[in-house]
Amino acid sequence: MRRRTLAILRKEFIHILRDWRSLLIIILMPVLMIVLYGYAITMDMRDIRFSVIDDARTPESRALVQAFSENGFFHLVPGPITHEDIPERFQRRDIHLVLVIPPEYSRDLARDHSTRVQLIIDASDNNVGTFVNNYSEQVLAGVMREMNGRAPLLFDITPRIFYNPDMRSTNFFVPGLVALILMLISALLTSIAITREKETGTMEQILVSPVRPLEIVIGKVLPYVLLGLLNAGVIVLSASVLFDVPIRGSLLLLGLLSLMFVFVALSFGLLFSTVARTQQIAMFMTLMATILPTIMLSGFIFPIASMPAVLRWIAQVLPATYYLTIVRGIMLKGIGLAELSTHALVLLGMGALLLLIATKRFQLRLE
Amino acid sequence: MNTPHDMDTTHDIAVEARELSKVFGAFRAVDSISLQVRRGEIFGFLGANGAGKTTAIRMFCGLLPPSAGAARVAGYDVATQARAIKQNIGYMSQKFSLYEDLTVAENIEFYGGVYGLTREGIRSTTARLLEELQLGDQRNTLTRALPLGWKQRLALSVSLMHQPSIIFLDEPTGGVDPISRRNFWRVIHDLAAAGTTVFVTTHYMDEAEYCERISIMYQGRIIDMGSPSELKRRHGKSSMQDVFVHLVNEPAAAQGAGGAA
């Protein structure tokens, strides 16, 4: 039994190594991705362009405008603008925000100690809209502090930020990329590897030989497990070298749990390959099942807790959800198996279940 | 556009090559070959794998422009009139080239359409081919389910749908059982008898015997050419197998013979 598995294994390795173009892509692509997206993905909005309709024209209103333009995030687009211009300007996309200061701005401030301004925000991208609003609130808070001096507060709030004191978004996203890349590459690899044999007819050859389904499956999966692990190593290494993402926990544990995750992802791909007849279909199935859910539902960018209930349930069955907690936990929190045992067990269970179904489906094909 | 019949009156030569060469980098895949194939002749290219047969055939079909020399197929220059050539030739390669995920009838319809047959023409041709190949019951079967021998015959029929004056067959019988192979060659003989020129490459020595004339290729060159009986006589051998081995092992004999031919 072991010899046969070994034979399939060796063959699979030869396949992988011979097609150097694919190999190069498999190994280099993650590095490229981590470099590119590690830099690209941040949640810090820069350069919010705004214009002002200042109907007050008082020293106070000018101070307000100045507070916005000196904030660093906002960039004043000069020139007159009227209310009627706004739709046109938003459609031209040269500004995100119009700050409208009413004529009674200074009068209200002096008389009632309370005044208001209008923020007209282009919210066609709701994320941009939220950012612009939040940053504006910050500017206004600063303006009020300036006007009032030390506020007569009864108590203070002193935050202490754990794990990522500067709240750098690279620390958040780069470990997430590890999960994303591993999931996508591993699942694709196996689903294609097996359907390719089906398409070229070599699978029949293997199926008529006395090899057992489990042996085929193991022989098929193992090389890619190693490849996936290599990938994980390269990605984690570049994360820590290029982006100074700390690895506070045990590297060994990270490797072990990554192995488990790769195993799940591969089994996932394997399952698709038993369903699909052609490489094209295997590819579509895998892409549709992995790419959007992994990016959107696993907590990679968007917090799971904020999602509607149905989506939270779906997130619970995504392997990437668990692995994300594991990577971030080990790299940033420095936690160990004690805290992550549930996650590890869930991954193990998922992998075993998927592998079982895939092997069963193989047997069905044989009969 | 010229029909094959117009051409027949002006040319009796279907394929002609003069010092035709193809170079890939430093590698001379086809090295200055010259030949003439008459209309209605069965002409064979015999040689081991990598001898340059496929490259030569691809140049004749207008798939590859030659690096040097010239060739005319059906009266058209391969370097400048590839499209006119394609209208007048059929081609079937060692790679089985029907769509496995289309049915038999769909394959016929598709290639008929590609060759510009009318709707009516496609309908009648489909009926005729299914009848000839006795595939009537299989018309809606996926091609992948057919036995290899039938696939081959179907592929041949499909490549003849537009009634080309020349058909190029590149290792057409690879992997096919002997009975199917014999049947296949019977069709080829019928074709030639009806005036179609057949240009075939093979590395099966027994198949070489079916050809009226063969040229033996070795390392990109034609090292000898003639009818099978002529070649056997010239080298004093009893089978094409022996002739081939003799020529390949003794390049000197080949040189002399090639010069004589």
């Binding site: 173009r21 694919s22 692509m29 590119l36 997206y37 830099y39 690209a40 993905i41 810090d44 820069r46 938003f90 459609q91 996309r93 100690h113 309370s114 005044t115 301004v117 007209i120 925000i121 282009d122 919210a123 066609s124 991208d125 994320n127 504006s136 206004l140 303006v143 009020m144 007569p152 507060l153 009864l154 108590f155 709030i157 002193t158 754990f162 620390n171 958040f172 390719r196 052609t278 590819m283 892409l287 549709m288 790419i291 959007l292 859910p293 539902l297 960018i301 807790a305 904020s306 509607p308 989506l311 | 207008g62 499209r83 080239s97 995920d101 289309l102 319809e109 359409g113 590609v114 190029f168």
Partner: protein
Amino acid sequence: MRRIFYLVQKEFRQVFRDKSMIGILFVVPFIQLVLLGNAITTEVKHVRVLLGDRDGTPMSRAFLQSFGGTEYIDVVGRESDERAIARALDRGDASVAVVVPRHFQRDVLRGERPAVQVLADGIDGNSAGVALGYVSRIAAEYQARLISEDPALGRQLRDLRRVQAEPRFWFNPDLQSKVYVVPGIVALLLLIITVFLTSMGIVREKEIGTLEQLMVTPIRATQLILGKIIPFSILGMLEIAIAMGLVYVLFGIGVEGSLLLLFAESGLFILTTLGVGIFISTISETQQQALFVGWFFMIFAILLSGFFIPIANMPETVQYLTYLNPMRYFMVILREIYLKGSSLPHLLNETLAMVVFGVTVFSAAVWRYRVKLG
């Protein structure tokens, strides 16, 4: 023309031969559309908060009482021991802990301004910042209540000068994510389907030898390419039409601008992605290679399209890189027409960019084909 018809017919037959393809093209995408339409939001809800009370006075209890009761904060427990809190953060059981210090009530009444400690998991910096904001707001509201009960402090509060912001969110007043996400998913699905159907389809014909067979027929290269473009463009347009209908029926999101313009721009986008698919097929020998190259392009196109992360958030160099991404332009166009009702003059730059991209990629593909034949 008739030859192209047969090429198109063949392509459709092949795509739909496998019944699972129908599911892949027309069922799964729309399930995802419906499900994920609600998913993307940077709004932070259900922050898991631990409350710690080291004071145990009416005031500290009242303060902590004011947490919870909203969808923004879930109180998950009570804990004031720092080590236990750290463990809870480690395990991810809580992401924020609020700890009221000893002598809180006494110090407040003495005017000594005690400090309430907030411990937060900062890994997701954005969420952490927002969560801190929630805590501050609750603290501020509680103080306001205390102050209003104390006349002396009340006067001070009246002297406090305030500037209130009235935000108006145009085009998407409730900051709904689906308004924004759904067009994005449509673009994404189009991208996946068109790039992979063409690149893998052509490479497959290369692998099995039918492409060579087609090359010896009198078909012209342009006819061959049209035979690939037409069926997949039709499929792509169909996807768009279905998606738009679904979005209207399910989410009530209609197209603000010209439907015609939207379809024309979609067609243009599909042409650029088909061009990419064809180009990929010219540089790949096997379907696996085509798949990986296509995949790489796709991830690039998705993450740098402004779909998930606003392009304005990216570093300048990366922003330049996004100019090479046709999806970036299409995302803008789609959203502008959909939500703002913008017309062509406002979208001229994006449209031109896609035209340039399309022309370039098609020329490159044709050039590669020439090189291969020569």
